[in-house]
Amino acid sequence: MLNTDLNLAAPDDFYEALVELHRDLTPEQSRLVNAKLILLLANHIGDQAVLRQAMAKAREGIIPACQDADLRTLA
């Protein structure tokens, strides 16, 4: 079960570190760092149900504004 209550001992410290992580990076570099971070944390959490809940929560309320160009449905 995804915990959405506070679970961080020093929340402000964490947030600062997260912002600091991206200092001086281009959007492309940031995207790569974020991707690595997600993969590392996902593997650490390991629980597929929790990960799916987190993905659903992250996507909540976001309406796709474009379509991936590199696929099409046949027939």
Partner: protein, 565 residues
């Protein structure tokens, strides 16, 4: 070649297979055949050989007079080789093919991940061989020609078809005009663009990927090992992927990702291809271009593979991306799944509804192949900036993080499906561990037969069901022995086999073949104990198993596995 022994080095690509007029063309009415197979590719040839070997007369029609031009499919999986062992051509394929088990993945210049597709010993066949499709077709053709009840007609193109509840009437076009044929069952193995599918107004639906790939098969002397090498974003072909793979006769498969915007006609020209190959091999390496092709691919399938008396198999029924070698391999498995069922139906030993299990099992397998192949393609051809970032993140982490190596996906290579939910399975009533659950393809193990080393899968009934009884090597009760022996005598015979520990055997086995299990591997792989009994289908899939042998339960499971329950 006809009738004689095949010469050692046949140029199968150059072989012209002569059209010959058949008496059927002069018949006043359409001549009837029990089974017509359309398409003499690896799938159609395998299906035709399997049926003919089981005693069913087969007519195989092909619209061309040549075998495969170009190497095309080159990776043939362990299960396919085991099927071809049953069809009598496995050894020839392995002898000519390049055996490999190892795959390596590089990111930019560095190796990030390697995998062994056959990490354990005790199997006769390797995970894969690489062999040009024209050899595969050539060897299958030569085997087909040994079978007197298998007739092949080249330059016979199906141009019309009338399916009816009791059979199918075909219009066939030849260099000497049209004629008509009738059959009880039609096997359509006529490829991705299946004219039969189109003639029936049916579709194969799915997704196509907006990416292009270049195959350059080159002939050269090179000292790369017999492994599958896959690069993401290498310096010699930036931002794209490259695959390198060894084939027999000093031919190498190089597959370059080009991207969607590449011009498919221009990219095929030697002046474009040669610099790409030189970038990989270095300017000094001498090579010749053997075959060049630019392709795109789709993951798709027909909704159903059985349409009355027409059965679709191979690329006609489903399509995948090439990265898991799941196309030709799954097609050969279609053929094997279909052949024994069709034979039982034709012999009147099973209802036609048995063929619905072909549809259920092979649609399940196609979905599994499409799922795996789509996932690989999503990794190799990222859909958007985010998926590209996750791909690169995975590859960078893979250098020093074990978990990320397992996420790297350069192709999940073909393994046979387990038909878990097949209506032909008898669900377990007893507790078992391991992989050999009902629906699973039987795994191999070393055995000893009459003191000689042999392989388990080769001992199974060649065209029928097998019953595997694990004993402790002590004497069998005469009643049990007789019950085992009588399995071979039913309308659908079951070949009994007796497994014993090494060096022990019952005094009297009543003619039942004895397989000694020298390393205990067979017993372990089947989680067997003395008394365990497995019922295996003609296609070597498990359909039932018990901790003790009960002839009544075996009969019930056999009825179920043949659609007679």
């Amino acid at each position: 070649m006809r009738g004689g022994k095949a010469p050692l080095n046949v140029d199968y690509q150059a072989l012209v297979l002569d059209y010959a007029r058949s008496p059927d063309q002069d018949a006043p009415r359409p001549v009837w055949h029990p089974v017509i197979v359309v398409g003499a590719g690896p799938v159609g040839l395998s299906a035709a050989i399997d049926l003919a070997q089981q005693g069913v007369p087969v007519l195989l029609l092909d619209d061309d007079d040549r075998l495969s031009t170009g190497s095309r499919a080159i990776c043939f999986a362990k299960r396919t080789l085991e099927i071809w062992d049953r069809l009598g051509v496995g050894q020839r394929m392995v002898d000519k093919g390049v055996t490999w088990n190892l795959g390596k993945v590089f990111f930019r210049e560095e190796p990030v991940y390697s995998f062994n597709l056959l990490p354990e010993a005790g199997h006769q066949r390797p995970a894969f061989i690489n062999l040009q499709q024209y050899y595969v077709e050539g060897f299958l053709l030569e085997r087909a020609r040994e079978l007197p009840n298998l007739e092949i007609r080249w330059k016979n193109q199906v141009t019309g078809l009338e399916p009816a509840p009791d059979g199918v009437t075909l219009t066939v076009s030849t260099p000497e005009g049209e004629y008509r044929l009738r059959c009880d069952w039609l096997v359509a193995a006529d490829g991705a663009r299946s004219p039969i599918r189109r003639a029936m107004g049916l579709e194969s639906k799915g997704r196509t990927f907006r990416d292009r790939f270049l195959i350059a098969d080159v002939r050269m002397q090179a000292d790369f090992p017999a492994e599958r090498w896959f690069w993401f974003d290498p310096p010699f072909h930036p931002n794209q992927s490259v695959l390198l793979h060894m084939q027999p006769d000093g031919v190498w498969r190089i597959d370059f990702q080009l991207g969607w915007d590449a011009d498919p006609v221009a990219e095929r020209q030697p002046d474009r291809v040669i610099p790409r190959v030189q970038a990989l091999l270095g300017r000094d390496t001498q090579f010749e271009l053997e075959w060049v092709s630019v392709y795109t691919f789709s993951c798709l399938r027909m909704e159903k593979f059985r349409h009355g008396r027409v059965l679709f198999a191979g690329d006609a029924a489903h399509g995948v991306s090439p990265f898991g070698a799941r196309g030709a391999n799954s097609g050969v498995q279609d053929a094997e799944n279909l052949a024994w069922k069709l034979r039982l139906v034709l012999e009147g030993k099973a209802p036609a509804s048995l063929l619905d299990s072909y549809d259920a099992e092979r649609v399940h397998a196609a979905d599994e192949n499409i799922l795996n192949s789509t996932r690989s393609t999503d990794f190799i051809t990222p859909k958007n900036e985010a998926s590209r970032a996750f791909r690169d993140a995975t590859l960078e982490l893979a250098k020093d993080c074990g978990f990320a190596r397992r996420l790297v996906n350069s192709g999940r290579l073909s393994v046979p499906s387990t038909y878990r939910d097949s209506p032909l399975n008898t669900p377990d009533g007893d507790a078992f561990e391991g992989l050999m659950q009902p629906g699973a393809p039987a795994v191999d193990a070393p055995v000893r037969v009459r003191g000689e080393s042999a392989w388990f899968l080769r001992q199974l009934g060649q065209n029928g069901f097998s019953g595997l009884y694990f004993s402790d090597g002590g004497d069998l009760h005469p009643v049990r022995l007789e019950a085992l022996r009588s399995l071979a005598g039913g309308a659908v015979p079951v070949q009994p086999l007796l497994v014993t520990p090494q060096g022990v055997r019952p005094e009297e086995t009543g003619g039942i073949p004895v397989l000694e299990d020298p390393e205990g591997l067979l017993t372990r792989r089947y989680d067997a104990q003395p008394g365990t009994f497995y019922l295996l289908r003609p296609d070597q899939h498990v359909c039932a198993r018990w901790r003790r042998f009960d002839p009544g339960l075996v009969r019930a499971a056999l009825a179920r596995a043949t659609g007679n329950a």
